[in-house]
C-alpha cells in the first residue's frame, strides 16, 4: 500500500533540525523540493553531529601527522604504527544526549558504537576506557544516572568481551542537565591488514550484515545535535537499544571474512545509520550508490523508506565484498547466525538513489551531500582572563592535615572502585596495570610490548582559561602515559561543549582547540581521531567546556612499567618540577575554601617535555621504585595516593613559606618519584644535566603519612576516607 508523502512545511523542516537558510541550500543544490525521505537524509547528514558544520573550520588547525601515524582523522578511527608489523586503532566518542535520557542504553550503545568503529577497520579490540561527567551529587537525578551509565558500560563491554581498564569520573553542577559519557576503544591490527570505508568497482553488490533494522534511534543524530528543553523524557524513542551478543557475533564474523580476503570496503552503521554509511562508502570511492530498501532485513512491519534510512538500530555493518569470495563470506555469516542481504550496488552515476516498493524515494548528488554541507565560521569571543590568586592571599580554613583527608574523600578525588569493579578489567589476561593508577597498561599478546592508555581533562581550568585548559588536558594525558614509562604516541579527542550559536561558548571551543594544538605540537603527540559533541546545554545553561583527551603510548617491555605505589621503607621521595604554590582553580580552593576562582595553572610545554623525558629515562634505566604525576589536589594528594596504594607511609620534610600552597598547589609539569637512597646522587646528577628542577622532599616508611608540623595520618584512616564516599553515596536510597 503506497503511503501518502507528507507535505514539506516550514514547521516540518524545523522539526528536522534544519534552519531556513540550510533548507534554501538544499533547494539550490537539487533544484526542487525534496521528498520526505530526502529531507530526512539531509537532516541526518547536515546536522552538527554528522557534518561538524560548526567545528570543521577549527578542527583543520590541529596537528594530525607524525612518522608513526598511518591514518589520521577522517576514517572510522585513527591508526598508528606500534612496530613489529602491528598497528593500534583507537578513538573516543560521546553518547551524551542519549545517556541523559536513558542512561543504561545510552551508555551501552556508546560503547557498542566505538567498538564497531575500531573493528570495522580490522582491529580486534583489546581495551576500553571512558570519561564520565555527572551533575552535582545533590542533584536529584545524579544517582540514577551514575547507576545506569556504569551498569550500561559494564553490561555492554563485559558481554562483548573487552576489558574496561581505565577512566575518569567527576561531578559538577554544570553537568546537572547534560551528563557526559565519552567512550574510548583501542584495538590491534596488522599494518598490512587495515580496512577502510572507500568502495571501489562499479556494479558491485553492497551487503548488509548484522541485526535487523527497527524503529529505534530514529533521529538520534538530530537529537544529539540539539539542546534539551524541559521535555527531555519524551525523546526516549530516539535512544538506541544495544545487544552486545550480536556485536560479538558481528566482530567474529567480520574479522573472519577480513582474514579470508573477502572484504573490499566496510563501514559500520552508527549515527544516521544506513544513510551516512552508504553515502560515505560511495563518496569516498567517487562512486554512486543505489539502495533497494525492499531487501533490508527489518524487525518491524511496514517500515517506510524514511524510517529505514534513519533508523539507528545497532550492530549493523555495510560492506562491499570481493565478488569471487561471496560464497565464502556467506558461509561465515551463516556460521555465526547473522542476518545478511544484498541491499544495493555501486554505480558510476555519482547519485545516491534509494528505491522502495517500486518507487524512487531519494535521488541526490552523492559527493555534494557531504561536500556541500554547511560550513560555519561562527562568531566567537575569547574568555576574559581571571585574576591570579597568590597563595598568601588564601587563608587556610583548616589544618593541612584535615584538608588532605577532606580532599581524598571528596567526590572527584575519592576512590572510584564502586565504578570499575562493575567493569570486567581482567578478561583477555593482559591487564598489567588495572584502574587506579596513572594509566592503564595492557600487554599485547604474550608481550613484552604493551600499550599505556588514559583519559583526562580538567574542565574547571578550561572554563577559566580555555587555551591553558586545552594545553593542560593534553599535557596531563602525556604525563600520565610518561609516568608509567610509556612513550606517548598519539591522542584522540572528544570535544564536549555548549551551544556553538552563542559566541562565548563558541569562544571556549576555539580557545581550547588552540591550546590542544599547541600542546600536541610541542609534545609530538598528534590527534589521530576524535568526535565533537556540541549543544550540551539545558534551558540555556551550558556545560563546562570539556575537551576530553584519550592518549595511547607504547611500552617496549611491560615488566619495566612503573607504578605509583610506594614499594618499601627508607626510600627517598623526590619532587620533579617547579612549585610556586598555584592555588587558582585548584581542588583545595574549591573543595576546602569553597571558591571556584582564579586563573588556572599555566602550562609550560617546554618544561613538560623536559621533565617528562627525564622521568621516562629514569624508569627505563630502572633507577626509580615508584612514579606518580601530580594533578588535582597537588603534592599532598599525590603523596597520599602513593602511600595508600603501597601500604607504606611517608614523612614529608620539605617546607615552604606558604605551606598550603606547596602542598595543594596545582603547578604543572611535576612528578613524584621514590628511589633507594643509594640511587639518589646519580638521579640528582642526571636532573642537573637535563636542566630539570628536582628536590628531595621526604622519605617513605611507617604506617602513617606525616606532613610537616602535623600529627601523622594513619594509612588505614586515609584509605577509609578515600574508599568510603562513593559506595555510601550510591547506597543512599535513590529517589
Amino acid at each position: 500500500m503506497l503511503r501518502k508523502e507528507p507535505q514539506i512545511t516550514p514547521a516540518l523542516v524545523a522539526e528536522h533540525g534544519l534552519k531556513p537558510d540550510e533548507y534554501q541550500r538544499i533547494l539550490t543544490l537539487i533544484g526542487r523540493e525534496p521528498t520526505i525521505t530526502e529531507l530526512g537524509i539531509f537532516s541526518a547528514m547536515w546536522n552538527e553531529h554528522c557534518s561538524y558544520k560548526s567545528s570543521r573550520l577549527h578542527l583543520r588547525k590541529l596537528p594530525t601527522k607524525a612518522p608513526w601515524v598511518i591514518q589520521g582523522p577522517g576514517e572510522n578511527a585513527g591508526v598508528i604504527d606500534i612496530g613489529d608489523g602491528l598497528a593500534c586503532v583507537f578513538k573516543m566518542e560521546s553518547h551524551n544526549h542519549p545517556s541523559y535520557i536513558e542512561p543504561y542504553q545510552g551508555a551501552a550503545t556508546g560503547v557498542g558504537g566505538i567498538l564497531r568503529d575500531v573493528f570495522t577497520m580490522g582491529a580486534r579490540p583489546i581495551a576500553c576506557l571512558n570519561l564520565l561527567r555527572f551533575g552535582s551529587p545533590d542533584h536529584p537525578r545524579t544517582r540514577h544516572l551514575v547507576s545506569g551509565v556504569v551498569a550500561g558500560i559494564g553490561g555492554y563491554g563485559n558481554s562483548f568481551g573487552v576489558p574496561t581498564v581505565g577512566g575518569s569520573v567527576n561531578f559538577h553542577t554544570r553537568y546537572d542537565g547534560n551528563i557526559l559519557v565519552n567512550a574510548m576503544a583501542v584495538g590491534i591490527a596488522r599494518t598490512d591488514s587495515i580496512f577502510y570505508a572507500k568502495a571501489t568497482g562499479v556494479g558491485r553488490p553492497i551487503v548488509y550484515l548484522g541485526s535487523k533494522t527497527g524503529r529505534d534511534g530514529i533521529h538520534g543524530a538530530t537529537m544529539a545535535s540539539a539542546s534539551f528543553e524541559a521535555n527531555a523524557e519524551e525523546k526516549r524513542p530516539t535512544v538506541q537499544v544495544g545487544d552486545p551478543f550480536s556485536e560479538k557475533l558481528l566482530l567474529e564474523a567480520c574479522l573472519e571474512i577480513m582474514g579470508k580476503g573477502c572484504v573490499i570496503a566496510i563501514q559500520d552503521m552508527g549515527a544516521a545509520g544506513l544513510t551516512s554509511s552508504a553515502v560515505e562508502m560511495g563518496a569516498k570511492g567517487g562512486l554512486g550508490i543505489e539502495l533497494d530498501l525492499d531487501a533490508i532485513p527489518c524487525r518491524e512491519e511496514g517500515m517506510s523508506a524514511y524510517e529505514m534510512m534513519l533508523s539507528e538500530s545497532q550492530e549493523r555493518m555495510l560492506m562491499v565484498l570481493d565478488p569471487a569470495k561471496e560464497a565464502e563470506a556467506e558461509a561465515v555469516f551463516r556460521k555465526w547466525g547473522l542476518d545478511f542481504a544484498i541491499v544495493g550496488k555501486t554505480t558510476d552515476t555519482l547519485r545516491f538513489v534509494v528505491k522502495h516498493q517500486g518507487e524512487v524515494k531519494a535521488d541526490l548528488p552523492i559527493m555534494e551531500l557531504g561536500d556541500e554541507a554547511p560550513l560555519y565560521d561562527r562568531p566567537h569571543v575569547p574568555t576574559p582572563p581571571r585574576p591570579i590568586i597568590a597563595a598568601e592571599s588564601v587563608v587556610p580554613p583548616r589544618s593541612n592535615r584535615d584538608a588532605l583527608i577532606h580532599l581524598i574523600g571528596s567526590p572527584d578525588l575519592c576512590s572510584k572502585r564502586w565504578v570499575w569493579e562493575q567493569y570486567d578489567h581482567l578478561i583477555l589476561g593482559n591487564t598489567v596495570q588495572q584502574p587506579g593508577g596513572d594509566a592503564a597498561v595492557v600487554r599485547i599478546g604474550d608481550g613484552p610490548k604493551g600499550l599505556a592508555m588514559c583519559t583526562d581533562v580538567t574542565q574547571r581550568y578550561c572554563e577559566a582559561d580555555p587555551v591553558q585548559g586545552g594545553r593542560q588536558a593534553v599535557a596531563e594525558c602525556w604525563r600520565n602515559l610518561t609516568a608509567v614509562g610509556a612513550t606517548p604516541l598519539a591522542l584522540t579527542d572528544n570535544l564536549n561543549f555548549g551551544n556553538p550559536e552563542k559566541p562565548d561558548y563558541m569562544g571556549q571551543f576555539v580557545g581550547c582547540l588552540e591550546g590542544i594544538g599547541d600542546a600536541a605540537r610541542a609534545l609530538d603527540f598528534p590527534i589521530v581521531s576524535g568526535n565533537v559533541s556540541l549543544y550540551n546545554e539545558t534551558q540555556g545553561r551550558g556545560i563546562l567546556p570539556t575537551p576530553s583527551i584519550g592518549g595511547v603510548g607504547r611500552i617496549d617491555d611491560v615488566a619495566k612499567a612503573a607504578t605509583l605505589a610506594f614499594k618499601g621503607a627508607g626510600e627517598a621521595i623526590l619532587l620533579v618540577g617547579q612549585t610556586q604554590g598555584w592555588l587558582g582553580q585548584s581542588m583545595y580552593l574549591w573543595q576546602v575554601c569553597g571558591r571556584e576562582e582564579g586563573a588556572p595553572p599555566p602550562v609550560d610545554l617546554a618544561a613538560e617535555r623536559r621533565n617528562g623525558d627525564f622521568v621516562r629515562g629514569l624508569i627505563a634505566g630502572g633507577h626509580v621504585t615508584a612514579v606518580h604525576d601530580l594533578s588535582d589536589g597537588g603534592l599532598a594528594v599525590a603523596l597520599a595516593e602513593m602511600a595508600m596504594a603501597g601500604g607504606v607511609g611517608a614523612t614529608l620534610t620539605a617546607t615552604a613559606p606558604q605551606q598550603h600552597g606547596f602542598l595543594f598547589g596545582e603547578d604543572q609539569a611535576r612528578y613524584l618519584l621514590s628511589a633507594k637512597p643509594q640511587a639518589v646522587a646519580a638521579i640528582e646528577a642526571q636532573a642537573l644535566a637535563a636542566g630539570v628542577p628536582m628536590q628531595l622532599i621526604g622519605h617513605t616508611g611507617g604506617e602513617a603519612l606525616t606532613l610537616p608540623g602535623e600529627s601523622p595520618i594513619v594509612i588505614a584512616d586515609l584509605v577509609n576516607a578515600h574508599e568510603a564516599w562513593l559506595p555510601a553515596y550510591m547506597a543512599t536510597a535513590a529517589k
Binding site: G155, E421, Q422, D424, L426, L428, G429, V432, R443, A559
Partner: protein, 232 residues
C-alpha cells in the same frame, strides 16, 4: 594432555583458558565448535570457558546446555573423563545436568570484578593435587550471576560427600560476610560431580597464571589436570 575447549557463540574467555592449558601441559588445546557431535579422539579434559554464551538469553547457559556437543561431553564424563566449567562454563554444566544446582544473580544485583581469595577444600582430586588441603589462593572473579543455590537436600549431599571444591574467603581464610562476594549458599565457589571428575567453579584461575598480571595462584588447577592426564 589432550584438552578440548568448547566454543559457543558469545563466549569470550576461551583464549584465556587455552593459554593456561597450554602453559601447564605444553600442548595446544583444540577448540571445538558447539555444533559438532564428537569430541576429538583421546580427549582427556573438556573445558567449558567463561563469557556470555547466547547473550545469557533465557537463563545463563540455558541454550548452550542443550547444544549438540553436550551429548558427547556427558558421555565423556560418564566414562570418567575430566570436565571443568569456569564461570559461564559452570552455569552451562548445571544447565546440561552434569552438575546440580543453579547460579542466581549476585546478592548486590551488580556485576563484580575483583581479586578474590578462595579456600581449597580438598587437594585429592584430579583438579587440585597441586594445591594443599585448606590452602588459601588468590584468583579473580568477574560475574553478575555467581550466587550458587540448590535445594536443601542437594546442599546436604554436596557438603556431606565432600563435593564442595572451593569456598569464598578472605586473606586469612575466614568465610562468610564480606568475604562472600555474591551471597552464594555456604560461600560455595565451586563444586564436584559425584565421581569428582566434573568440576564447576565461578572464579577465573585462568587469569592468575602470570606474575606480571596479578599472580600465579591459578596455575595449580591446570598443573593438577596436566599431571593427572600425563599419569593416566
Amino acid at each position: 594432555m589432550k584438552a578440548a575447549v568448547l566454543l559457543f557463540p558469545g563466549l569470550n574467555r576461551e583464549g584465556d583458558a587455552m593459554r593456561a592449558l597450554e602453559q601447564a601441559s605444553g600442548h595446544k588445546p583444540t577448540l571445538v565448535w558447539h555444533a559438532e557431535h564428537e569430541l576429538p579422539a583421546g580427549t582427556d579434559l573438556v573445558l567449558v570457558p567463561g563469557g556470555f554464551s547466547y547473550g545469557d538469553y533465557l537463563r545463563c547457559g540455558a541454550i548452550a546446555g542443550r547444544a549438540n556437543i553436550m551429548d558427547a561431553v556427558r558421555a565423556h564424563a560418564a566414562r570418567g573423563g575430566l570436565v571443568v566449567g569456569i564461570c559461564n562454563g559452570f552455569q552451562i554444566l548445571c544447565e546440561s545436568g552434569l552438575l546440580p544446582g543453579v547460579l542466581m544473580r549476585n546478592r548486590d544485583l551488580r556485576f563484580i570484578c575483583k581479586m578474590q581469595h578462595l579456600k581449597v577444600e580438598r587437594a585429592d582430586t584430579p583438579f587440585t593435587t597441586a594445591y594443599q588441603k585448606g590452602q588459601i589462593i588468590k584468583v579473580a572473579i568477574a560475574h553478575g550471576e555467581g550466587n550458587y543455590e540448590a535445594d536443601e537436600e542437594t546442599i546436604r549431599r554436596l557438603e556431606g560427600d565432600g563435593r564442595v571444591a572451593f569456598r569464598y574467603c578472605d586473606a586469612q581464610g575466614q568465610v562468610g560476610g564480606a568475604a562472600n562476594p555474591n551471597g552464594s549458599t555456604n560461600d560455595i565457589a565451586g563444586i564436584y560431580s559425584e565421581n569428582l571428575n566434573v568440576l564447576g567453579l565461578m572464579p577465573h584461575p585462568e587469569n592468575l597464571i602470570d606474575p606480571l598480571v596479578g599472580g600465579t595462584d591459578g596455575r595449580g588447577l591446570f598443573d593438577s589436570v596436566a599431571r593427572f592426564s600425563a599419569a593416566a
